[in-house]
């Protein structure tokens, strides 16, 4: 069931002839209830798929914005259990929007890999991106995901040559996430001209839609990437909105969703370059 939610969404977007907009938000940031309100508001604000981060104390691939988001969430007591509860609460009101969890290996090891895949699937999770579990270490996780109809989504990067790409796309489904810059999240800027041929290469190697993320902060850049990719992921720019709204004592949900709205519109109306 779950895999089909991602596949169905990309099939529908293909028919529409446009790229997906995929916001990344952190579970429990700035607190549980606000995060749930944001999550529930995302589809209406233009999210086609949702990436939901689960916090980890030592996120080695994240830049300062998502590091801080994880710290805020942990400080408010967010857990992996709490993250699955958020997904279940979201799923109760939305049966169509795919939800992909993104995070680090250790909380899963603590939960138990097999048990986690089962419980995540039951909560309505469609895909998993585990940043520090590369294909070489992913055997047990891939087995567990297969057993519970969860897509294990892999990261391809500027350092993936053709030989490496073959390894990266093995046992993957749903889509492939192309990390558009060598670096941590939210620091360098992605360049659409450089990304285009890489997306084509990953698409050819995997036969799957390709989402592009890391380094996309503005509607203009989101639109440029939307012309060459199947999905555009924005994370750091959104968690920065959370931080600023908290600092300025503004309505966090409103502020994040209006940013999502402007990014989603840019993606929605970007003209696709025929591929």
């Amino acid at each position: 069931m779950s895999k089909s939610r991602i596949d169905a969404r990309f099939a529908a977007l293909k028919a529409e002839g446009r790229a997906a907009f995929v916001p990344y938000v952190m579970a429990g940031d700035p607190d549980r209830d606000t995060a749930l309100a944001i999550l529930k508001g995302l589809p209406a604000a233009g999210a086609d798929l949702i990436e939901l981060g689960f916090p980890f104390s030592d996120p080695m691939a994240e830049g300062p914005p998502i590091q801080r988001a994880a710290q805020r969430a942990l400080a408010k007591g967010m857990t992996l259990q709490g993250t699955l509860e958020l997904v279940a609460a979201f799923r109760a009101g939305d049966a169509a929007t795919p939800v992909i969890l993104m995070g680090y290996t250790n909380p899963l090891v603590t939960w138990g890999i097999e048990a986690f895949a089962r419980d995540a699937s039951a909560a309505g999770v469609d895909g998993l991106i585990i940043v520090d579990t590369p294909p070489e270490e992913a055997g047990p996780l891939a087995d567990a995901c297969d057993a519970h109809d969860i897509s294990l989504i892999r990261l391809a990067t500027p350092t993936s040559d053709d030989a490496r790409l073959k390894v990266v796309v093995s046992r993957t489904s749903g889509f492939v996430y192309y990390v558009s810059v060598a670096g941590v999240t939210g620091v360098k800027e992605a360049d659409a001209a450089a990304v285009a041929p890489q997306v084509a290469r990953v698409r050819a190697a995997s036969g799957l839609p390709v989402a592009v993320g890391f380094g996309i902060r503005t509607p203009e850049r989101a639109a440029a990437i939307a012309q060459v990719a199947d999905a555009v992921v924005v994370g750091s720019a959104l968690v920065d909105e959370v931080a600023e709204a908290v600092d300025l004592n503004e309505d966090v949900t409103l502020r994040v969703l209006s940013k999502v709205d402007s990014l989603a519109k840019a993606v929605r109306f970007a003209r696709r370059v025929p591929v």
Binding site: D58, M60, N106, T110, P134, R154, V184
Partner: protein
């Protein structure tokens, strides 16, 4: 217990070959020591760690590389380091004879330089032009800055802001050596966070940068490579103790943070079943208080910094801050080979508190005229038990991994004195 009678080293070697379980054969082809180790890194880094693995394997097999390294270890580092019979310390405890492996006499004052010399030669062989490192106490940072100065490579050292504060002399030393020290304020602002920040730098500067990890920790091939570069400690001890005593020792002791000095001492003896191995973790204010840095004695297996190993973590799998008077042991994990040696029972991991380490620090200073690094003092603190267990005719070799000059201000503060 009675000290085991000592067969000659050759007969031990033949016994070793007959062992069904060859502990020295790890890691396997996947970088695993049993269940531990591996390569849990972001995809961007995977091609780099594969490249490093291949380059190190080639260098390890290259006699020219090994000869060049030996030359620098002799003439620049000052090896071999002495194996010193600590006569007054031995008499004080009244048990086994205590020998100190004097790694604190190396250039830069600790064992860290052994590994740095090996890795800088490898980095140059790989054509890398920029070096990054993490440091806790600053000993590894100083050693890295030193080899970078020697070979003219730019060097950035990540150091937790808390450690920058408690190890000021080492920060200044690194600056004198031309390195840039970047204080890390994220997380707990100590060694684990410095390592996160170094990994973030590496993932951002993949083309020209070599990450010179200072402990036998992190992702494969680092635990095996750092161990190999540090194994010179154990190899020398093997020769020296046979020359002095005509036999192998009964026990080896070393402090363990990430565990590079310990694994360097232990590894050449792993298949000598009669040589007991004791690692000593930092118990901080006491393992039972939760404020400690004892990953094996107070943690459980998990994944951090690229490898599966014992970690300090909460029930949710969030990494806990380590606590120790020693910045060099203030790390919530331990090298994966130690995790393996613990599980199979080949090595025993004890612990020593801040207070016990301080007492050992002052004891060695007064009895032998040697200021030990506060890290090494943790191993010294367990000498009473180990010398008693080994017994009067036995031999204990303790790795004095670093010198304690860097710690005088911290020690004075803990003793309530002003200097």
């Amino acid at each position: 217990m009675n000290a085991p009678t000592a067969p000659s080293s050759t007969s031990r070697a033949s016994t070793s070959q007959a062992r069904p379980n060859d502990y020295s054969a790890y890691p396997d082809a996947h970088g695993r020591f049993g269940d531990y180790g591996g390569q849990y890194v972001p995809e961007t880094l995977m091609p780099l760690v594969h490249e490093l693995d291949a380059a190190y394997s080639a260098a390890k097999a290259d006699e020219g590389f090994q000869a060049e390294l030996s030359g620098y270890l002799k003439h620049y580092v000052g090896r071999p380091s002495p194996l010193y019979f600590a006569e007054r310390l031995t008499r004080h405890f009244g048990g086994a004879k205590v020998y100190l492996k004097r790694e604190e006499l190396n250039h830069t004052g600790s064992h860290k330089i052994n590994n740095c010399m090996g890795q800088i030669l490898l980095a140059m062989r790989m054509g890398k032009t920029r070096i990054i490192a993490e440091t806790g106490a600053g000993q590894h940072g100083v050693a890295t800055a030193t080899v970078c100065a020697r070979f003219g490579l730019p060097c950035v050292v990540y150091m937790g802001a808390v450690d920058v504060e408690r190890q000021k002399p080492n920060v200044f030393r690194m600056n004198l050596l031309g390195a840039e020290v970047r204080p890390v304020t994220s997380g707990s602002a100590t060694l684990k966070d410095a390592m996160n920040e170094a990994l973030r730098d590496w993932v951002t500067n993949v083309h020209d940068t070599y990450y010179l990890i200072g402990s036998a920790a992190g992702m494969h091939p680092y635990p095996a490579m750092v161990r190999d570069f540090q194994a010179i400690i154990g190899l020398e001890v093997r020769e020296q103790v046979v020359e002095l005593e005509g036999r192998l020792p009964d026990a080896l002791m070393a402090c363990v943070g990430g565990g590079s000095n310990a694994i360097g001492l232990f590894h050449p003896f792993l298949n000598d079943a009669d040589v007991k191995l004791f690692g000593v973790e930092a118990a901080g204010e006491g393992v039972e208080t939760g404020r400690h840095a004892a990953a094996i004695n107070g943690g459980r297996p998990g994944v951090l910094h690229g490898n599966m190993t014992y970690l300090l973590q909460d029930r949710e799998g969030q990494i806990k801050e380590a606590h120790s008077i020693s910045a060099g042991l203030d790390y919530p994990g331990i090298g994966p080979e130690h995790a393996f040696l613990h599980d199979v029972g080949r090595a025993t991991y004890l612990s020593a508190t801040d207070t016990e380490a301080l007492e050992a620090y002052t004891l060695l200073s007064k009895l032998e005229g040697i200021l030990p690094a506060i890290e090494s003092a943790h191993a010294l603190a367990r000498l009473p038990e180990v010398t008693r267990e080994v017994g009067k005719d036995g031999i204990v070799v303790l790795n004095l991994s670093g010198r304690g000059d860097k710690d005088v201000a911290a020690v004075a503060a803990h003793l309530g004195m002003q200097i």
